[in-house]
C-alpha cells in the first residue's frame, strides 16, 4: 500500500495529476465512504421504487374510484415536480415536523435538545424512491395494459381473485414487457442519487466536492467521478440486460 501511495505522490510531482484519493489516507477513506453511500442509496431506492411502482400500478387498476384517484394524485405530484425541489421540500419542509428530544452529551455536560427523527439519508431514500416510483407506476401500467384481455378473462374464468390475477398472471407478464422501460428509469435513478449532496448526504458527489475543494484537483476528480458512474451504471445495466434475456417471453417481440 505504501509503495502505491509513494508512486502516486511521485506521479503527482512528475505530471501534475493529483489523485489524493489514492495517496492521502483521509481523502481515500471519505471517498470510499462516498462510494459506499452511493451504492447503498442506489440499491435501497431501486428496491423501494420498484415496490412503489407495483403497488401504485395495482391501485390504478382498482375498482374503487378513490383508490385510483389516490394513485393518480401521487403520480402527478411526483412526476411533475423537480427531484431537487422534492428533496429540499422533504428535508427542510417536512423534516422539522418530525422531531425527537434527546439527552445530548457535550463534554461533561448533558442537555436536552430537539433533533430530527430522520436523517438526511432517510429523507433522500424517501424522496428519491417516491420520485422514481411515480415513473415506475406508469411504466408498470404500460406493461399491464399490454397483457392481452383474453388472458385476464381466462384467469378470471378459472376463479382466481383480483389479487391472484394481478400477482400470478398480469404482473409476471407485464414485468417482462416493460423491463426495457424500467431499466431506463432505474439507470436514471442511480444518476439522480447525486442530488442528495444538496441535503448533505455524504455520497460520491458530496465527498468529491469536498476533496476537490481541499486539494484544488477539480479536473482529476471530475474524470474519476465520470468513470465511476459509467462503471456503476454499467454494472446495473449488465445485470438488468441478463435478467431481460432470462425473462424473455418466447414469441413476444425481441
Amino acid at each position: 500500500m505504501e509503495a502505491i501511495e509513494a508512486w502516486f505522490l511521485a506521479f503527482y510531482r512528475d505530471t501534475g495529476i493529483n489523485l489524493t484519493i489514492i495517496y492521502d489516507g483521509f481523502d481515500r477513506a471519505r471517498f470510499l465512504e462516498g462510494v459506499g453511500n452511493t451504492v447503498l442509496l442506489s440499491m435501497v431506492c431501486l428496491v423501494c421504487s420498484v415496490l412503489i411502482g407495483i403497488v401504485g400500478a395495482w391501485m390504478q387498476g382498482s375498482p374503487r374510484a378513490w383508490v385510483r384517484w389516490l394513485a393518480q394524485v401521487y403520480v402527478q405530484f411526483f412526476r411533475n415536480t423537480p427531484p431537487l425541489v422534492q428533496l429540499y421540500f422533504f428535508f427542510f419542509g417536512l423534516g422539522p415536523l418530525f422531531v425527537i428530544t434527546v439527552e445530548q452529551q457535550v463534554g461533561q455536560m448533558t442537555f436536552a435538545r430537539e433533533m430530527p427523527l430522520l436523517t438526511s439519508f432517510h429523507w433522500a431514500v424517501i424522496s428519491l424512491s417516491l420520485f422514481a416510483g411515480a415513473f415506475n407506476v406508469e411504466i408498470f401500467r404500460s406493461g399491464i395494459e399490454a397483457v392481452p384481455r383474453a388472458t385476464v378473462e381466462a384467469a378470471d374464468a378459472l376463479g382466481m381473485s383480483r389479487l391472484q390475477i394481478y400477482g400470478n398472471v398480469v404482473l409476471p407478464l407485464a414485468f417482462r414487457i416493460c423491463l426495457p422501460a424500467l431499466n431506463n428509469n432505474l439507470v436514471n435513478l442511480v444518476k439522480t442519487t447525486t442530488l442528495a449532496y444538496a441535503i448533505a448526504v455524504p455520497e460520491l458527489l458530496y465527498q468529491s466536492n469536498q476533496i476537490w475543494s481541499d486539494s484544488v484537483n477539480v479536473p482529476e476528480m471530475m474524470v474519476v467521478l465520470l468513470f465511476l458512474y459509467v462503471g456503476l451504471v454499467g454494472v446495473l445495466v449488465t445485470g438488468m440486460q441478463r435478467w431481460e434475456r432470462a425473462m424473455r417471453l418466447p414469441g413476444f417481440g425481441q
Binding site: 483521509f26 427542510f92 423534516g95 422539522p96 422531531v99 445530548q104 457535550v106 463534554g107 455536560m109 442537555f111 435538545r113 430537539e114 433533533m115 430530527p116 436523517t119 438526511s120 449532496y197 444538496a198 441535503i199 448533505a200 458530496y206 466536492n209 469536498q210 476537490w212 475543494s213 481541499d214 486539494s215 484544488v216 477539480v218
Partner: protein, 281 residues
C-alpha cells in the same frame, strides 16, 4: 448551385465562428485590463450569502463590503460594474474560465490556491474559524465536538480539520441558509464557519440563544484574486488594496455595515500610515 453556394458560405461562417473566439481569447490572455476597458464592464465575483461582506438586499441586489470594494475598482477604471455571485466551491474555477475578471469573495489566502490563481498582495482582510452553537450546549473547547454532528459549508477548507483534528462529523450544505436552517432544526450541534460571518449573525434576533463559544483558530488573511498571468491587473489591484488600507476605507466600510473593526484591518491601516507619520492624511 444556389444551395451549394449557400452550403459553402455556411461552412465558412461556421469556421469563422470557431476561429474568432479563439483569437479573442488569445488577445484576452495578453491583457485583461484592455479587455475590461474595451467591454466597458468589469465582472467581479462576490459572495451573495455572506453578510455583511456580500449579501442580497430586499430588492435582490448584491450589496455589502466586498461589492463596495468592487465598485471602487470599477470607478477607478471608469467602467461599469457587473457583480457575479460565486460560492466557495466554484469561485476559483470562475476566474480560471474567464467568467469573472476579479474575485473579491472572502477567500482565505493559502499556498495551494496560489498555484491556481494570483492572490493579490497585500491581503485585504482576515478572519478565523469558529462555531455558532446554542448557548445551552455550553461548548468551551474544540475537542468537545468529538463525535458530534457539526454543520458546515461544502468546499470550506476547515471542514477537514474539524473532522480530522477534533473528531466532529461534518454535515456540509451548499449554502449558509441551508446550513443555518439545519442548525436551527437540530440536525447538528454547531455550525463551523468564518468568525466574521458568525459575529454578524449574533447581532440578529433569531440567534439570541446562540453564541460563538470557542477560541478562534486558523486566523488567516483573505486575498483578492485575479487569473494567473494577469501581471498588470495584479499590480493594479495591489495599488487599490494599498489605498484601501492607507485611507482607512476598509475600517470605514466595517463601521458602515455594523461590524466591529477587526484587529487585522486596524493593524494594516496603522502599518501603512506609520511608514511616514509626518505626512498629514
Amino acid at each position: 448551385m444556389r444551395s451549394l453556394l449557400a452550403g459553402t458560405a455556411a461552412v465558412a461562417l461556421t469556421a469563422a465562428g470557431f476561429v474568432a473566439p479563439l483569437l479573442a481569447s488569445a488577445e484576452a490572455q495578453a491583457d485583461i485590463m484592455d479587455e475590461i476597458q474595451e467591454r466597458g464592464v468589469i465582472r467581479v465575483g462576490v459572495k451573495a450569502d455572506y453578510p455583511p461582506y456580500g449579501f442580497l438586499d430586499e430588492d435582490g441586489n448584491i450589496v455589502g463590503i466586498e461589492p463596495e470594494l468592487a465598485q471602487d475598482v470599477a470607478d477607478v477604471l471608469g467602467v461599469e460594474l457587473e457583480l457575479i455571485p460565486v460560492v466557495s466551491s466554484n469561485r476559483m474555477q470562475f476566474l480560471e474560465q474567464g467568467r469573472i475578471d476579479l474575485m473579491i469573495a472572502t477567500m482565505t489566502d493559502r499556498m495551494d490556491r496560489r498555484e491556481v490563481v494570483y492572490a493579490v498582495e497585500p491581503n485585504y482582510y482576515s478572519s478565523g474559524t469558529n462555531v455558532l452553537a446554542p448557548a445551552e450546549a455550553g461548548l468551551t473547547e474544540w475537542e468537545a465536538l468529538d463525535g458530534l454532528p457539526v454543520c458546515g459549508i461544502q468546499g470550506a477548507f476547515y471542514n477537514r480539520r474539524t473532522e480530522e483534528d477534533f473528531g466532529a462529523d461534518i454535515v456540509a450544505f451548499t449554502g449558509t441558509a441551508e446550513a443555518l436552517s439545519a442548525l436551527q432544526q437540530g440536525s447538528c450541534i454547531a455550525f463551523v464557519y468564518d468568525d466574521s460571518f458568525i459575529v454578524s449573525r449574533l447581532g440578529e434576533e433569531d440567534w439570541a440563544d446562540y453564541e460563538m463559544p470557542l477560541p478562534t483558530i486558523d486566523d488567516a488573511p483573505w486575498a483578492i484574486a485575479v487569473a494567473l498571468g494577469e501581471e498588470r491587473f495584479n499590480r493594479f489591484m495591489s495599488g487599490m488594496i494599498f489605498d484601501w488600507h492607507l485611507s482607512g476605507r476598509i475600517l470605514a466600510l466595517e463601521s458602515e455595515f455594523g461590524v466591529d473593526n477587526t484587529p487585522f484591518a486596524e493593524r494594516m491601516h496603522e502599518t501603512f500610515v506609520d511608514i511616514n507619520p509626518s505626512i498629514e492624511r
